[in-house]
Symmetry: C2
Subunit: 319 residues, 2 copies
DNA sequence: TTGTATGCGTTATCAT
DNA sequence: ATGATAACGCATACAA
């Protein structure tokens, strides 16, 4: 490995002059500087991240922690973060699983964006207390080193339910999400509230877990109980996709016998037949805002709570 | 920040004793050790990654470089890598974009898995020459520090084409991939060879780029030219999805007028109606094998070239 | 403008 | 069994 020491030796100057030249300090003579840079290039010099970090106390790297690499949900979101971060000279790395949590406390990361319900809140709080900067996208957490940017789940769920009701449906299923999920919980609360407000309504809850297969399972139950037109609010699109798939094997047609609305507007949703009605929001913006808030926090700014607004996409899967 | 120095002070021992205790060395007295660990815990001590790395010359972190965070393709593959890596005590981080390339030469990573055609081969070779360990999944590259694990593209493409031909189709379109893509190039070569071998055949190539929208575009051209049953080999599933979608807007039916086979068996493919015939392989295994090879390289093992075998999934989209 | 010296937190060698 | 100390590569305050 070639270090500034090697460059210094070859250039006949001290390591500090090399360091200054490499960092573009105006203090060093233009000629000397050019010569040093030239030699550094010849030697294929690359600075050592560990040494630099040890000295400067930051890495210019931000981590995004997600539950799993699978699922079409994260793509755009991460891309939104990355673009924002790169613009400011930061790099984004994606991490998943408990083992990689260490990267944060060990100082490998200047901050983290959390989108992983399995990441314990107490652990997060512990890191925040140690001075680490965090942005949470999947829970409410009050701390000076933590900003939150959350989806407007309640507005979305209300929009979806009201759309079903306005379209004349009186029998409504809700396929719920995992109980640990903040988003699922918020959406469910709004659903129940809307049901109460629109009494009388035949309302049935089916426990789901945001996976396709739980959507399929829900479909089987709905098929079995079928006694006339029914509407279904799948609390996320992933389950709606599963539901569509399973329902294809039944005599019931979506948009005719069974009416469906989802949440998230994942890409697959637009490829379903009939196109799925759903709650849309800019995932790219979601990611960008999260990155932006983290950058603010890192720059010493205060904890801020942002909200991502949503809107309804109406399609023939409902009317 | 609390360092071993703080622990040493509080425990009334030297930093070297603390270091030994922390690393579970048998040289240090059990009582002393217990006391040190206790204090470290009270102080919420966490080792500093930069300092450790500077000394030990490795991070126990491996990076996977991908073209984009979007697309359903990577999920299982990355999961396969992660599981294998974690089992051996390594962490996996996902990187995308030129800016993050620095993590490798700067010593932040013990090795990298490359699945990003936009990552220049010369640059890769440069890193390999500097001693960095690499596994490439998307090109052929001979170097003692580089292992390759490649899909058996030619077998897959041949299988797909022969399936079309055996099913009696004599007019065949191939929707190609980006010319920079090794996989696309390999598949295309096999396609052309199969065409020659099965003369006479009406064979038409449509330039694609592995994206959904290029599949849609291909569909429009095929629609316009329609003069009777035609078969289409989309060199990846992503384009087949786009083709399906666009063809829905036409009078032609897949499996009746137009016959389609894809490559990759992405999850969406199984949700298409009729289900898409395609070339399947275990993405999880693909990732696991890649990780395994990297681990071997890191352990000082020789460069090895592995191949991932594929097989055909037959469905009514063809017959 | 350039050089000297120190320290970042850790590991590890060598004494004791 | 424990301590003193050097070294990893770099940035920077201070001296010259």
């Amino acid at each position: 490995m070639v270090s500034i020491k090697d460059i210094a030796k070859k250039a006949g100057v001290s390591i500090s002059t090399v360091s200054y030249a490499l960092n573009g300090s105006p203090k060093v003579n233009a000629d000397t500087s050019r010569r040093i840079l030239q030699i550094a290039d010849e030697l294929n010099y690359v600075p050592n991240a560990a040494a630099r970090t040890l000295k400067k106390r930051h890495t210019m790297i931000v981590g995004a922690f997600i539950t799993s690499f699978e699922g079409a949900f994260y793509g755009e979101l991460l891309q939104g973060m990355k673009d924002m971060l790169n613009k400011q000279g930061y790099d984004l790395i994606i991490c998943s699983g408990t083992q990689s949590h260490r990267l944060l406390p060990e100082g490998m990361l200047d901050g983290a964006i959390i989108l992983d319900a399995t990441f314990d809140s107490d652990e997060l709080l512990k890191y925040a207390n140690r001075g680490h900067k965090l942005v949470v996208l999947d829970r409410e957490l009050k701390h000076e080193n933590i900003s939150q940017v959350l989806l407007d789940n309640k507005a979305g769920a209300t929009l979806a339910m009201e759309y079903l009701i306005e379209s004349g449906h009186r029998k409504i299923y809700a396929v719920t999400g995992p109980t640990e999920s903040f988003d699922a919980e918020q959406r469910l609360q709004a659903v129940r509230l809307t049901v109460e407000r629109n009494h009388p309504l035949e309302y049935i809850e089916i426990q789901g877990d945001f996976t396709k297969s739980s959507g399929e399972e829900a479909a089987r139950r709905i098929k079995d109980e079928y006694s006339g037109p029914a509407a279904v609010f799948c609390l996320n699109d992933e389950m709606a996709v599963g539901l569509y798939h399973e329902l294809k094997k039944s005599p019931y047609r979506i948009g005719e016998d069974i009416f469906v609305v989802g949440f998230d507007n994942i890409e697959t949703a637009s490829y379903l037949q009939p196109q799925l009605a759903t709650i849309d929001y800019s995932k790219r913006r979601f990611g960008a805002v999260a990155a932006e808030q983290l950058l603010h926090l890192i720059a010493g700014g205060p904890s801020v709570h942002e909200r991502i607004y949503v809107n309804l996409i109406k399609t023939p899967s409902v009317f």
